[in-house]
Symmetry: C2
Subunit: 151 residues, 2 copies
């Protein structure tokens, strides 16, 4: 099972911003570091701003920063929002999708329960935990950030 | 989060065959009923045969049938096999994928734990359960099957 590329990038941006709180990053810098298309990354950072996860400061020295403390960002809640309109299989699409078996099939209920277990496992994990789960993020980001162009 | 189209179709075929044990179905019939391309569905049924979930009987009156009792097919085990080579995000690809944060990021561990919770929820659920979870499957399939061309 796969998360969307949009969710993948959104997670990276949040982790990236959380681990470099002292340096504001532009969307272009983040896109460069992650070898992503600027337009795609701009949609991701725009979504994070509109959903209140990040804020964008204009002007010299401006850029993106998290608008919440990493310890207040639940990984489960973030992923639920990111994936809420992406049905796991057709029968979980709004209206039941196109699968002809939907009206009489128990798969949708079983898969919904499993998806809920997936999110529930991630609910208590915060972005602060994610950064702390593996050492060396600050050093890694220092090296990555210094390699990017300035805003 | 999404299952692959391949997994989606594989689940449908297994449910379909489990719910019509008295009628062997050809790949072409199943593809027609589910409005799928024949070539795609043939890969799915070929995989189910190669993995021992289904068998194909040749000749007049031949077709596909399950080679295991539906009560012996764990939904979790089936989905683990179907999805094992499809990483949820890049950092879960073999070799760590292309995400530069991988070496120092705790996301991969958190997502792996959540994925395991997803599969574990489905492990005790069998295809027999799936058919029993919603009523009317036999009637529905009777109507769908009678609308398809014969093998």
């Amino acid at each position: 099972m796969q998360l969307s590329k949009f969710s993948d990038y959104a997670l990276r941006v949040v982790v990236h911003l959380a681990a470099s709180p002292d340096r504001l990053m532009s969307t272009r810098q983040i896109a460069e570091i992650h070898d992503a298309k600027y337009n795609h990354m701009a949609k991701v950072t725009g979504w994070l701003v509109s959903e209140g996860y990040a804020e964008s400061l204009r002007g010299r020295g401006g850029g993106l920063r998290l608008s919440k403390d990493p310890s207040q960002i639940s990984l489960g809640a973030l992923l639920r929002k990111l994936e809420e309109d992406k049905p796991m299989v057709e029968c979980l699409a709004s209206g039941g999708g196109m699968c002809l078996l939907s009206p009489s099939c128990g798969l949708s209920l079983a898969l919904q329960n499993a998806q809920e277990a997936f999110f529930k496992t991630l609910d208590p994990t915060t972005i602060k935990d994610v950064i702390g789960l593996a050492p060396g993020m600050a050093n890694l980001l220092g090296a990555l950030n210094s390699g990017s162009t300035t805003a």
